[in-house]
Symmetry: C2
Subunit: 367 residues, 2 copies
């Protein structure tokens, strides 16, 4: 008996080929060589992937559950991804749909440090949904971005994030932008008595990411934005491990996971590797996820999963204030609503519109 994780794939296939196709995936994701050339009995029993179940979905596809030995991955993010979906990602008939991990592996990755409760506590949003907006467009100088943050913060919104396009550009370099926006946000928050938080967007390799987190800390910030698929999943996890007092909000950029199911990638995996909140593209916005995908993603992010803290789902992507009641009815209280462009479009009425957004969320009567 070896310790195995169970990876679930959806495979397009006809009925007569599926057994062989499932076996081929089990081999591809473990030893990746002809089994008849392996002499060692222990490798056959302990290392080679095992087809645990095959279920016909009745639509020309099958659910295939493969048991993969945890000895092949260890508790390292990259190697876990590699063994679950490294080569098989290249097969266009396969989608990676779900994973069940043994308790020891869940405990080793640990997931969010703060999660829903921690992000609520940071902004005093007990018992209700949280709110978030974004600083745009890139190209504005630091002072203009700081002024936008001030006006958003005066409205009493919970979180203000950098646009994920803001990196370390010449027109608003990170080391200049982040202190200025942090100060503007803090000053406005002192006026309102709110605990509005500014989330700087991190980018670059692990060295750059660490320097940026250090700057954020020096400005008194304790929550940051990161795009795990852009920086690389191992970098996310290294930052989470190295900064026990910082909360991480994940952005989905470059996660156009044609063949990793969105609930798995943005919900479960980002959570597993330590994201406290996960931004995703909501239904009926600029992107095309159907409501059931969004529901499944939210469930994956915040549902019970071993001892992991829940990760806050953050639906976004062209949301507008008039949709707030509908979204709160759909997602409930354990959510952060992110509206950027629609508030920026209010121009001189930005603070008023943002305050109205905040009020709608605070006063919502949950069903």
């Amino acid at each position: 008996m070896t310790n195995r994780l169970i990876a679930t794939y959806r495979v397009r296939s006809d009925a007569k080929s599926i057994a062989a196709r499932a076996k081929a995936i089990a081999v591809e994701q473990s030893v990746e060589m002809p089994l008849e050339a392996i002499d060692d009995a222990a490798i056959h029993t302990d290392i080679v992937g095992r087809v645990e179940a095959i279920g016909d979905r009745g639509d020309g596809s099958f659910t295939v559950r493969i048991g993969l030995a945890t000895a092949t991955t260890g508790p390292e993010v990259g190697q876990l991804i590699n063994m679950m979906f490294g080569n098989t990602s290249i097969h266009d008939d396969v989608t990676f749909e779900d994973v069940e991990l043994p308790p020891a592996m869940l405990a080793a990755f640990a997931g969010p440090r703060f999660g829903t409760a921690g992000l609520r506590a940071r902004v005093g949003a007990a018992g209700r949904a949280m709110t978030c907006t974004a600083l745009k467009p890139q190209g504005l100088p630091t002072a203009r971005l700081a002024d936008l943050a001030r006006r958003f913060a005066l409205a009493g919104i919970d979180y203000i994030k950098d646009d994920h396009g803001l990196a370390d550009q010449a027109y608003s370099p990170y080391a200049e932008r982040v202190p200025a926006i942090a100060a503007a946000t803090a000053a406005a928050a002192r006026e309102t008595g709110r605990q509005t938080r500014y989330l700087p967007s991190l980018s670059g390799d692990l060295d750059a990411l660490r320097r940026q987190v250090a700057i954020a800390r020096d400005c008194g910030l304790d929550t940051v934005l990161i795009a795990p698929m852009v920086v690389g999943l191992p970098s996310l996890h290294a930052l989470v491990r190295g900064n026990p007092d910082v909360a991480f909000v994940a952005h989905p950029a470059f996660g156009g996971a044609a063949r990793v199911a969105p609930p798995l990638l943005f919900g479960k995996l980002f959570r597993l590797f330590g994201a406290d909140a996960t931004i995703f593209t909501n239904y009926a916005g600029r992107f095309r996820y159907p409501p059931e995908t969004c529901r499944a993603l939210a469930d994956a992010a915040r549902g019970a999963w071993g001892g992991l803290k829940p990760c806050v789902p953050v639906p976004a992507g062209g949301m507008t204030p008039d949709r707030v009641p509908e979204m709160l009815d759909f997602y409930g209280r354990d959510v952060m609503l992110l509206i950027g462009g629609a508030l920026l479009a209010a121009r001189e009425r930005l603070t008023e519109e943002t305050a109205a957004f905040q009020r709608t969320v605070e006063r919502h009567a949950y069903r």
Copy 2:
């Protein structure tokens, strides 16, 4: 006039929607907010993405060329990926197909340090294709892997790589495995008089990757294997920049998960960020790329591109020795052929079969 890169997308659309769809991509990949809410004229002219051309492919899809200001990316890998295909990757009607970069940006990323000529020089393979094989299965103890390497090296093969599944597992930890295999390979190479090289597989976050490169160097190794999509593209580039005497061979694992055309991701982008060789799944093997995709990928990896050195295409994935002449006719001399499982299946005749593979490549009469 601002400096722009040109990103090319294939977009599924009907003719009457494509102009608006193209404009939406240009906005999504730059300022990501309603244009009418932007006051600043310079942002409209210098920062907002620009639709440069739209071409009807006549198959329900369009080629859309978007000019993106290089000021938004800077010379940083993650931010470049983010601005080229961050959010748009989430739209399932769009594939990222190609990119043209201004000379200054090409020069900043620099591409492969060694490329085709450098990898040939390392193993004395002047004027012919290079050969490669793989150490498998994972689960074998270090001594068994080292013995496999010895037997492969005795056959005079050019490169021997770790299986990309070999990471830092308990059954063959990196710090134990790499010195043992390096020594076994070197000893066999002294016997044959060949310059057979061993490529250890790197994994983990940037700290771990650096430790692993340091161990490889201490063993006298100068070429390594890395899966850029597993470790994260910024980590690849950080290693390339930090190790001017090491050549990097890229593995495609987890690269199927993004909706990026294979010739662009595995050919052009891996090359841009410094891979000296790029492994990909060949036609008519375990994977499904058609020959024209493989040809385009090889062309992207080694064709003329500013001053960048060519990156060696390495077709693989279930290749067998009997296919060598056909592959050499297809790819020509500027290639490395990788055969793993089929040689391991020769068991006690492994060295003889590998030597025959090597001989076929060395004696091939190129058309």
